[in-house]
């Protein structure tokens, strides 16, 4: 029983990380109708920038306070993501207004390739570490209830708390600000939003900046846990089924989807993996999402798609 609960907790925590990356997808889709395949590359670039600047800035400015270095690096990395948002809007999205969703998807695929290359050219392609002082030591709780207690990874717990705070802030932003309402209008229909005077260009910059910020947070958390390297951008691919399961337009869906897939992956790996040769983590989430889609094509909380001729 203790082991099962431990696995469950582990699943929930890693699910939170998936949710964090998935959130980036949902944000951009919800607010601009673009399925952003480049989210993974954005996480990679953000994490690379964070890792490298926290190393470079103390050297340039000649101080050695790690906290200050991290704060400055975070600000610079956020600025990089903002610049990226402006550039993407100016050179790509602006020219693709009113295009089909699939065209936009392929465009983000192109952006993703470009960012992969650019990030690694400018920041180097080895493995870097981010140290933001997250607690590394595991804690053991409830050892009076279970034999040996439950092993909880404090690092995961911190990440989950950060993710939860971020999600809450974003949900409020979407629901209660006029910019949030404008974002939802743009997602519904570019043309209609434009015709009632919503500045499409500004909205897109806002959306991509927010998504860049989410990518940065996700990148910092993943990076401080596993190190920053190229595989980060494929880690984002692992988060795709999360949004599919939760529904592309739903923030709570991304969270719940993340948790379901995190738990499902861990449990299936532990209890089924040995039967079929292990490593089923790689596809479990995808096949789960696929089977689910057969019964509910719009995902858990997605909006039902109604077609008219």
């Amino acid at each position: 029983m203790g082991f099962f609960l431990e696995t469950l907790f582990g699943g929930l925590m890693s699910g939170m990380l998936y949710a964090l990356i998935g959130l980036g997808f949902v944000l951009i889709f919800k607010a601009s109708g673009v399925f952003n395949f480049a989210q993974g590359a954005m996480v990679l670039v953000a994490a690379l920038a964070m890792a490298r600047f926290s190393e470079w800035i103390p050297r340039w400015l000649g101080f050695s306070n790690p906290l200050l270095a991290n704060v400055l690096a975070f600000i610079v990395a956020a600025a990089v993501m903002f610049a990226l948002a402006v550039v993407v809007e100016k050179f790509v999205l602006r020219h693709l207004v009113n295009q089909e969703a699939t065209t936009l998807l392929m465009a983000t695929l192109g952006i993703s390739y470009f960012l992969d290359g650019l990030g690694q050219i400018s920041f180097g392609s080895s493995v870097y570490s981010i140290n933001v002082g997250m607690p590394k030591d595991p804690a053991i709780i409830l050892d009076s209830v279970f034999d040996g207690g439950l092993l909880i990874n404090l690092e995961d717990l911190t990440a989950a708390v950060v993710a939860a705070l971020l999600v809450a802030a974003l949900a409020l932003f979407f629901q209660y600000t006029s910019t949030g309402r404008a974002l939802r209008a743009v997602a519904d229909d570019h043309q209609a939003a434009q015709s009632i005077g919503i500045p499409l260009n500004r909205i897109w910059v806002v959306v991509w900046s927010v998504a860049g910020l989410v990518a940065l947070v996700a990148g910092v958390i993943w990076g401080s846990k596993f190190g920053v390297q190229f595989t980060l951008s494929t880690a984002a691919l692992r988060a795709l089924p999360v949004v599919i399961l939760g529904g592309l337009t739903s923030v709570p869906g991304a969270i719940l989807g993340g948790l379901i897939i995190g738990v499902g992956e861990k449990l299936s790996e532990v209890y089924l993996g040995s039967l079929v040769g292990g490593g089923i983590e790689i596809w479990f989430a995808y096949v789960l999402a696929l089977v689910f889609l057969l019964f509910r094509p719009q995902g858990l909380f997605g909006e039902k798609i109604i077609d008219r001729v």
């Binding site: 399925f35 050179f91 790509v92 020219h95 693709l96 969703a101 699939t102 065209t103 998807l105 392929m106 465009a107 695929l109 192109g110 952006i111 993703s112 390739y113 470009f114 960012l115 992969d116 290359g117 650019l118 690694q120 050219i121 392609s125 494929t234 691919l237 795709l240 089924p241 599919i244 592309l248 079929v276 040769g277 292990g278 490593g279 089923i280 790689i282 596809w283 995808y286 096949v287 999402a289 696929l290 889609l293 057969l294 094509p297 995902g299 077609d307 008219r308 001729v309």
Partner: protein, 354 residues
């Protein structure tokens, strides 16, 4: 001047419906084929055949297969690499378990196995579409990658997961030197391209295109979405499977599952986009482009006296591909094929601009 069509009258339906209705096109294609079958083997070096022409032909074939799905039927697929892998491994397994089986039969059976897998992973397309489907096809990619890596039966219990093909023969003729391999691939590519060209011109091709343009409207006018989508998946994965088998057997010789990973799927999608969605000719342009860019990138800086490190070159390659995709989507969504037809229209009027 070069493309003068006046005077070429069509007096029968047969004449009107041929693949190349303009005489200049027919002559050009004939000359091109003659050159490909006779001229190239005489002129090209082994390096050129092995490193450029054979991969170009096989990737073109795979792109033709993918274009049936993406360009003609409008179902985005990111799992092409998986279907290539199924084709390659299935063909290899038939060869290992039934040693007497002829090469061509192996390849075709490999393609049929890919068809089955393709149709299974195509079933979700009946309920979901567009973005959701693109992600769903990733399931095929990850599942197949895993299966060939972890299920030892598929690799005949080889310890490293690598498989390699023995010396090849087809119709009693050896397929071993670069030139023989080139001719073998070329012949197959011609046959399959002709097949697909005729399919997309026919009734089924029109159904695919109707589904692509608007599936609800298509089903209202009596096109069965299920039949059209699943046949598109079947035809596409068959061709892609055959291409996969050729890629493994002829180009690589020995391979591991990594040869057909997600990068390959993306690469093929890029070919189709750059070459032109919904154009058979475009697949060849796209493949040529994708094969040539890395070669150019690795050679040009050296010629200019700016030698690049290998990893920098590959990063630049990524950037170039990314930038090109975006450029093409913005400036010329119909790809290189469209540029080609614009050139032909200009030639029709040349040297007068009106």
């Amino acid at each position: 001047m070069l493309y003068r069509e006046n005077g070429q009258f069509k007096t029968s339906y047969v004449a009107d419906q041929q693949i190349f209705p303009i005489r200049q096109d027919r002559i050009f294609v004939m000359l091109l084929l003659a050159f490909a079958f006779v001229g190239v083997p005489l002129l090209a070096s082994d390096y050129l055949l092995r490193a450029l022409l054979i991969p170009f032909l096989i990737l073109s074939l795979a792109a033709v297969g993918l274009n049936v799905l993406v360009g003609y039927c409008g179902q985005i697929s990111l799992g092409t690499g998986a279907f290539m892998a199924v084709g390659a491994y299935a063909a290899w397994n038939f060869g290992v378990r039934i040693p007497a089986m002829p090469l061509l039969l192996q390849i075709v059976l490999g393609g049929l196995c890919a068809t089955v897998v393709g149709v299974i992973f195509g079933i979700p397309s009946l309920r979901i579409r567009g973005l959701y489907l693109a992600v769903a096809t990733l399931a095929a990619q990850f599942f197949v990658d895993w299966a060939f890596l972890r299920i030892p039966y598929f690799t005949n219990y080889s310890s490293s997961g690598n498989v390699s093909v023995p010396q090849l023969t087809a119709f009693g003729l050896p397929v071993q030197t670069a030139m023989e391999k080139y001719l073998f691939v070329l012949a197959l590519v011609c046959v399959f391209t002709l097949l697909v060209k005729n399919l997309v011109r026919g009734a089924i091709g029109r159904e695919w295109m109707a589904i692509r343009d608007m599936d609800v409207a298509a089903s209202v006018i009596g096109i069965r979405p299920m039949y059209a989508k699943l046949t598109a998946f079947a035809v596409s994965s068959f061709i892609v499977g055959v291409a996969g088998a050729l890629w493994g057997f002829i180009h690589l010789g020995s391979w591991e599952p990594l040869a057909f990973d997600l990068t390959r799927s993306f690469q093929l999608l890029f070919m189709v986009i750059i070459g032109g969605l919904g154009s058979i000719l475009g697949c060849f342009f796209g493949a040529a482009f994708i094969v040539l860019v890395p070669v150019l990138l690795s050679n040009i800086p050296g010629m200019l006296g700016l030698p690049l490190a290998v990893d920098t070159a590959s990063h630049i390659e990524h950037m170039v591909f990314g930038a090109l995709i975006v450029t093409f989507l913005i400036a010329e969504p119909h790809g290189l094929a469209r540029l080609w037809s614009i050139a032909k229209e200009k030639l029709r009027l040349w040297p007068f601009p009106y």
